[in-house]
């Protein structure tokens, strides 16, 4: 066999492995979720019951879907102003300067901090702070989790949107400057409109990250299997309930957890697909 054919075969085999792996994951998710869906039907998605008592078992995903969606959206809302302004700062206002370079490395550094460290920081630094404001008794809950989640997705959203903003062609900006526009006018009338869809997409992708984030949220959200009753009330997310309960689960409960995982997978895939679609259409 010629070297060329060997290379081709090797590449083919490794690509096939990836394909088999992802198909396998999807199949086992679906397979594992079947008992739960057979027992509760589509009602599994909309029910907020979570009762593992033997003989009385009843499971539903709604509390966790609500917890996931609420914390993620709240994190996104907190993240947008920070990430948007920072990306403008590094990719446009201070483009090419030392300050921007340092800031960029710091953002990459933040993006590389493991989730458990953020959770730890939230637990020991942020939670007591919240308790001292009197807004929350123990400091656990949706708000604490969202805040840490926001801090975790800011670096990701920032570097994505900075990338998009720095792709706005110099010739467009020069055209605007040569018409006598000021920096602010160039940014708001040329840079942001040209980069708008890309910026939106980068926030959608950041939302995708927030949806699946597990460790830090688990440490802060309070792990109450109910739909959160307020900003400072405890709740649980899809990822957290799996992390908390899979160890002691079996039978129907295990199947319910897998079904929650399947739903999380579908939601995250959909959000990521949307974000990539927007980037593709406008890049």
């Amino acid at each position: 066999m010629s070297g060329d054919r060997i290379t081709k075969a090797l590449l083919f085999i490794s690509s096939l492995t990836i394909l088999l792996l992802s198909t396998g994951i999807v199949i086992s998710l679906f397979g594992g979720a079947i008992p739960a869906f057979r027992e509760f039907g589509l009602g599994f998605i909309f029910s907020s019951a979570w009762n593992p008592t033997a003989g009385n078992e009843e499971y539903g995903a709604m509390s966790f879907i609500a917890g996931t969606v609420i914390t993620s959206l709240l994190a996104l809302i907190i993240c947008i102003p920070m990430a948007f302004t920072t990306s403008l700062f590094i990719a446009e206002y201070y483009r090419g300067t030392r300050t921007s370079g340092i800031l960029r490395s710091l953002i990459d550094l933040l993006a590389g901090i493991p989730s458990i460290v953020y959770g730890f920081w939230g637990f020991y630094a942020l939670r007591p702070l919240l308790v001292s404001t009197g807004l929350s008794d123990q400091g656990f809950g949706v708000f604490t989790a969202s805040l840490v989640l926001a801090i975790m997705i800011v670096p990701y959203a920032t570097s994505l949107s900075a990338e998009i903003i720095s792709m706005v062609p110099a010739e467009l900006k020069e055209a605007a400057y040569s018409l006598g526009a000021t920096r602010r006018e160039v940014i708001f009338s040329v840079v942001i409109p040209s980069a708008r869809s890309g910026i939106i997409a980068s926030f959608i992708l950041a939302l995708g990250r927030a949806l699946g984030e597990t460790m830090a949220v688990t440490m802060l959200i309070g792990n109450a299997n109910v739909i959160p009753k307020g900003l400072f009330a405890p709740g649980n997310t899809m990822a957290s309930v799996i992390a908390n309960q899979f160890g002691e689960a079996s039978g129907l409960k295990m199947s319910a957890l897998i079904a929650v995982g399947l739903l999380l997978f579908l939601i995250t895939a959909l959000v990521n697909y949307l974000g990539k679609l927007i980037i593709k259409r406008f890049a």
Binding site: S178, T182, S194
Partner: protein, 258 residues
Amino acid sequence: MNNTPQSDPVLDIRNLFIAYEPERYAVKDVSASVKRNRITAIMGPSGCGKSTLLRAMNRLHELYPNIQTKGDILLEGQSIFSMSVIELRRRVGMVFQRPNPFPNMTIYENVVAGFSLNDIRLKKNQRDEIVENALRNVALWDEVKESLFRKGTFLSGGQQQRLCVARAIAFNPDVLLLDEPTSALDPVATSKIEDLLGELKKKYTLVLVTHNMSQAARISDESMFMYLGELVESGPTGTLFTTPKDPRTEAYLTGKFG
């Protein structure tokens, strides 16, 4: 149109040095002048500093903090470095190498972009008039009057470039800088732009950077030849092309380099 006393030249470049890196000059000690209602062509091989010189005339280099400029340029007798950069750029318009209409704006919005970008509010009939005049001046009106509210990026390359000229003259500038405006265009579109420049010089003073000698010979009145950052020779185009004084100019014109 011009209330300032008609001092000739319009632009007077004095001992201009421009460096992209410390002590490495892209433009070295250039002194030259640009005459009113003429087309002045700046020629030279790639990397000779011709675009760098042009972009100094509306202080575009200031967008890039590492570029350093020494020397002076006078616009109607006044140093451009003592003016507000906004006022300068309104008086000295620019057209770029590649057509660059704003992709988020319609044809109409592109023409009045100079006003909207500067937050200058105009009445609708004033705007309509400016748009029509500017588009007529670049011979684009008849081609686009039915589609003024479509995006400018739908036009052909040549039409886009004329739209960019319209955008630059909508402000009625004193000087129009053109940085190889036809290098991205086909021959038909190029000759349309060249005809247009011949018309525009009646109203404006034009400075044209080109690497195309025959274009400079066809349409310019005055020529400058630059080589390795220096202004080798300048003068009336006819004289410079027929009896160049410097051997380097002659070598360039006869195709020995460039």
